[in-house]
Amino acid sequence: MNTTLILFLAFIAVTLGITAWASRLSGSSASYFAANRRVSAWQNGVAVAGDYMSAASFLGIAGLIAFFGYDGFMYSVGFLVAYLTVLLVVAEPLRNTGKYTMADVLAYRLHPRPVRAMASLSTITVSTFYMIAQMVGAGALVALLLKGSGISFRLAVTGVGILMIVYVVFGGMIATTWVQIIKAILLISGTILLSFMVLAHFGFSLGAFFTAVSQVHYHAPDGTEVVKDFLTPGLRYKPPYGALDLLSLGIALIFGTAGLPHILVRFYTVPDAKTARFSVVWAMWLIGIFYILTTFLGWGAATIVGRDFIAKNGGNNMSAPLLAQALGGSIFFAFISAIAFATILAVVAGLTISASTSFAHDVWSNIIRHGQEHNPGEERRVARIAAFVVGAISIAIAIVLGPTANVAFLVALAFAVAASANLPVILFSIFWKRFNTAGAVAGLATGLLASIVLIFLGPSIMTVDAPTVAPAARHIIQHAPIFPLENPGILSIPLGFIGAILGTLCSQRDPAGEEKFAELQVRANTGLGAEKAVAH
């Protein structure tokens, strides 16, 4: 048995132990969905960071920087700055007025059933797409990392899927939170250690490091040797639309994060708005440090390992593990691989719990059951079944898509939907008195539809591939893209806002909803009447 596998199994054993412990604590809905609202500021901050720093960040961003230099770092910047939207605008009002889901805030003074139905559709869409992207990545990665151990892509995807279902079904929010915390600590330590070793490789001279980064050697596809300055922007986002695409990406990142359901639900796990505020600050420290260090991982891989070698040994997603192998040998490779594995598991568990909570709380309890539990524990039971179903569907889709499927667009789609559908209606329901039910439904529907349609008309789906591209990695529609940008945010976000505004202005005023605006404002800003932490 190889070292990587042993470390994988160790992580699985620890997290299953936590799940067993948490399953004995989970006695009520507040415990299952919101960890009794007793998570402390640092714990929640670390867990938010854990939920956010996905394999797409650790492996994907490091890979982008290793292959395209500066342009990859643009993602890192947006990922941190996005938290200012969360901190200044969303986290505290959300904690003060909601219970378990984003829809709680929207349904507060509007007609709950249509609003919850649309909000839940948007939540489940974002979570499922994001999860499928993670699962396909996970399967390919695990199969690659454990090469020689006989674990195939299918087995890897099924294993990851079953583990995440077990965490969520048996451990609820308490287990999911601790899995996130452990994973985030592992990920940050691994990243710091790896960056330190990169610097050590250059004799702790930043000058020597940046000099190497400014002259990276590799071979172009036609075999000619190229020397590029990886500090220069524009290696990935090229004219004519590159600059606009970069801008569109930035908009989706800084407005999308504050609408990501699996991040928002985390703020219900803390006792009050003040703790929510400090947990965002904790998260911002960790996320900021991590994303600054992505340049050391990416540029370290580009200069020490080399783009040619990475391309031949698993592609750009393997940049960080291969860097670890080059600097610390097979034990360190196993360690970094195990961290990547932990990252994937924790993020998919976070996504599963947000999707299943939305189904149980919004669709089942509030739409089907009109806000009343007919039997004790019903909401939790429905959530567990939903988690199982969501997990099983994701496993099936990931297996059908296969390891080489081009799924990066699903992550772009998740951020675009979060920014275009969720954020406008969250903002309007907190800050705009006239906002009404028709506006919320129209905003959510327009934002969701615009993001999906523009992604499908864009180059992620519609591109004519060269004949050399393998069949599974080909784009779905072999046609020149109708919408030129990979990131639809620059158009879909304004459309989401316009949909919400027009829907409101073109429908009748809602005196009862406007009447409750004063109540919402008082509650959002003072915490009066907010859901309390559950005592021991």
Binding site: L88, L231, L247, K274, V522
Partner: protein, 119 residues
């Protein structure tokens, strides 16, 4: 054992008039004004500062590629400064929020007084 039914979210709260009266108090208006005075300019500033990066990288590449410290160019330093600015704004917000908390406590006290007056 049936759980007690939760109130329908749409039913107007029994003490709707109290919420309205709290919303009209000077303390609450001051709380909102204090928050607005910080959050609005801070949000506008961070959005402008953030978008200055992709705009200048995309549309003024020559300036951004100018090297200022060995091989390190303006583009990289500008990107790094985004991290520092984000942390700084977060710090300033946490500091300003101390005042919000004090004002919110005053509003909660007002509510106590309103209820004591027999509502």
């Amino acid at each position: 054992m049936p759980t007690p039914p939760k109130p329908e979210p749409r039913t107007p709260s029994a003490n709707a008039s109290v919420w309205n009266r709290v919303a009209q108090t000077d303390d609450f208006k001051k709380l909102l004004a204090a928050k607005k005075a910080f959050v609005v300019p801070a949000t506008i500033f961070f959005i402008l500062y953030y978008f200055a990066l992709p705009v200048s990288v995309g549309y003024f590449p020559a300036l951004m590629q100018r090297k200022v410290w060995g091989p390190v160019n303006i583009a990289y330093l500008f990107a790094l400064s985004q991290f520092l600015v984000a942390w700084l704004i977060a710090y300033l917000y946490v500091r300003a929020a101390r005042e919000f908390d004090i004002r919110a406590a005053a509003v909660i006290k007002d509510l106590g007084n309103l209820e004591a007056k027999g509502n």
